[in-house]
């Protein structure tokens, strides 16, 4: 039996100092590199032949070899030891140091340790706040009595290692969750003429960090704008991944049809079918292509705030629905918000309105009152900032917060829309034109004729103006008491193709009062005029 020579308080103090230095030196290392460095030091200080760390896999309740010095095979072969069995399993199960003076096949499960000829072992648990993170153990090829001081030293190392690992593993998870969450938020909000959008996501401060809040905004095939605001209970990686699944499924369901109630009902079935037992609340709605209304359903989610020139109110859909997948199956009831020019919609998660020890209705009322002094017609990002600062009032958010603000622009006096010269963009141009004509109170039959003529002229630009490289089409409009004037421009060369589109010009001429076509080297300009009186 060899004496360790480290049994004096002076040695303990030396180690303490060494570890403090190490803390700083190792601060930037990854969990793996950190463990490697620690084990090298442990081997030197304790004068042992092997040192290893096994970390707990909580899903299987097994210890997995993650780093080793002297018995590297343990890691290479991915040794897994069930908690409660063998030497390391015993350390983890009983959360106390274990010493084995003479290794045999009854007290050590891991064949590598036996094959290496390890005779004595000392293991201590890696503990953080009473939770077992793993086990660190050292071994000697010669018979050795590990004394109280050895145990104390190894525990000191284990304490430092556990703390550093905990922070790193937690940081790592937090980083992954944050990355994941970010990929599920829209990179850019869609650009629809007549609507302006702004959004913000704030992670919670403190240990909670990234949560399962998300928002989404996308244009449906019908030209409608889908808006979603959801919240998966909980935090971290799990909440972020559930959020991703729900968000993608909602996108898929919503392009099948324009009824929000159908999409959310399907989503609820999916959540139930796949045993997603996290609480998921959702507000989902669609603004129609004509921008006349917002139809929405809420599954346990706070209602949207509607801001008009006459005040602020929360939209009701007549019934409080439970979170996704929790209620008995029944069709969701849709709420409808008329969307006149100048109307704003504010969608949010409960982090914005909930304060500890306060009922939700108090928070909602605060939001209503904060919103009364916000200029929604100005810069929308500024409006979001004003709402946030008014609600947080200098506090850090305790829960994560998502906000989506949508503003229906005032009735435009003139129109100016430019799109890529793609066939699918023709519908975008017609929708913008219809909205503008409705805003200008142009009689419906006249509006139809203007859309017919302009649609035809735009189609001509898309079909004929450009080669395969493509280009752009611009549609502008102005209107006085007697006449609507619409101008279609492209930057291409007029190519006379003997296609059946010859009917196009006949249509344009029939529904307008004058047509001017100006073909130049830099492009084609078609000016259409139509009197306001119906024919």
């Amino acid at each position: 039996v060899r004496s360790t020579g480290l049994g004096d308080p002076e040695a303990t103090e030396r180690l303490r100092r060494l570890l403090r230095v190490a803390d700083v030196a190792l601060a930037h290392l990854s969990p793996e590199a950190l463990l490697d460095e620690l084990l090298i030091r442990v081997r030197e200080i304790l004068e042992v032949d092997t040192a290893a760390v096994l970390l707990l896999d909580e899903r299987t309740d097994e210890l997995v070899a993650r780093a080793a010095k002297g018995i590297e095979e343990e890691v290479e072969q991915g040794v897994r030891i069930p908690v409660g069995r063998g030497f390391a399993g015993l350390v983890a199960a009983e959360r106390r140091p274990v010493v084995i003076e003479q290794v045999d096949d009854r007290n050590v499960l891991n064949p590598i340790l036996r094959e290496k000829g390890i005779r004595s072992l000392l293991g201590v648990p890696l503990l953080v706040q009473g939770r077992v993170l793993g086990v660190i153990h050292v071994g000697s090829l010669t018979g050795r009595e590990f004394g109280d001081h050895d145990v104390e030293l190894l525990q000191l190392v284990a304490e430092r290692a556990a703390l550093a690992l905990h922070v790193r593993l937690y940081e790592h998870e937090r980083m992954v969750a944050e990355t994941l969450q970010r990929t599920f938020l829209p990179e850019a909000l869609p650009d629809v003429p007549g609507l302006r959008l702004a959004s913000r996501y704030l992670p919670a401060t403190g240990p909670a960090g990234i949560g399962g809040d998300w928002y989404d905004a996308f244009v449906l095939p019908s030209g409608g704008m889908a808006l979603a605001m959801g919240d998966v209970a909980g935090h971290g990686l799990r909440a972020a991944s559930v959020m991703g699944r729900v968000r993608n499924a909602l996108r898929a369901y919503s392009i099948e049809g324009d009824r929000p109630a159908d999409a959310v009902a399907r989503l609820g079935r999916l959540v139930r079918l796949f045993d997603i037992d996290d609480i998921v609340t959702l507000l989902f709605g669609v603004i129609d292509a004509g921008l006349t209304e917002f139809r929405f359903v809420s599954a346990g989610h706070p209602p949207p705030l509607v801001i008009t020139s006459t005040g602020q109110r929360f939209a009701e859909n007549g019934r409080a629905e439970p979170p996704l997948g929790t209620g008995r199956f029944h069709p969701f009831r849709e709420g409808v918000v008329p969307l006149g020019p100048g109307t704003s919609l504010l969608l949010f998660t409960d982090g914005l309105v909930e304060h500890r020890g306060e009922s939700l209705s108090v928070g909602l009322e605060r939001l209503r009152s904060v919103s009364s002094s916000v200029a929604f017609a100005g810069d929308l990002d500024d409006a979001v900032s004003t709402v946030l600062s008014g609600m947080l009032a200098g506090h850090e958010p305790a829960d994560d917060i998502a906000i989506l603000l949508v503003h229906r622009g005032d009735a435009a006096v003139t129109m100016d829309v430019r799109v890529a010269a793609e066939p699918t963009e023709l519908a975008t141009l017609r929708r913008a034109l219809r909205r503008w004509l409705a805003d200008r109170d142009v009689p419906a039959s006249v509006a139809d004729d203007v859309v017919t003529a302009a649609g035809e002229a735009c189609a001509n630009s898309v079909e004929h103006a450009y080669g395969p490289a493509g280009g752009w089409v611009r549609l502008t409009g102005s209107c006085d008491d007697e006449m609507v004037e619409v101008v279609v421009r492209d930057g291409g060369r007029w190519r006379d193709r003997p296609s059946a589109r010859g009917r196009g010009l006949r249509l344009i001429t029939a529904v307008t009062d004058s047509v001017e076509i100006d073909r130049s080297a830099s492009g084609t300009t078609v000016t259409l005029r139509r009197r306001l009186e119906p024919r």
Binding site: D448, T452, A459, A500, R506
Partner: protein, 125 residues
Amino acid sequence: MTQLATLSLERIETTAVAVVSGEIDFSNAQDLGARILQWVSNEDAALILDLTKLSYTDSAGINLVFDVAGRLREHGQAFRIVLPVDSQPWRTFSIVGVETQIPIFETIEQAQAGGDAEPGPSPPP
């Protein structure tokens, strides 16, 4: 694949029925035409194109119906269109006189009943 328009296909005895709702323009007309013609079998005596729920068409829609009409004529099959008066598509069709070459009816029942009529010079009042 745009969903600017939706197409549903039915068959009533020996009449193929194609219902187009939404909008027709340069972006989807060719595809719609191909899918409609595919639906018509050799055994069908006629095709009814129901445009009751069509809210917009440009000249690409006119080309579509003339193309379909031409193909059906080659096979000796009748072609009728259902289109309510005063809709944007109806006015667009009437500008170029679609109804002088393809019979247009106000309802699907009239289109079915008018099955014996030859393509007439004008739609029923």
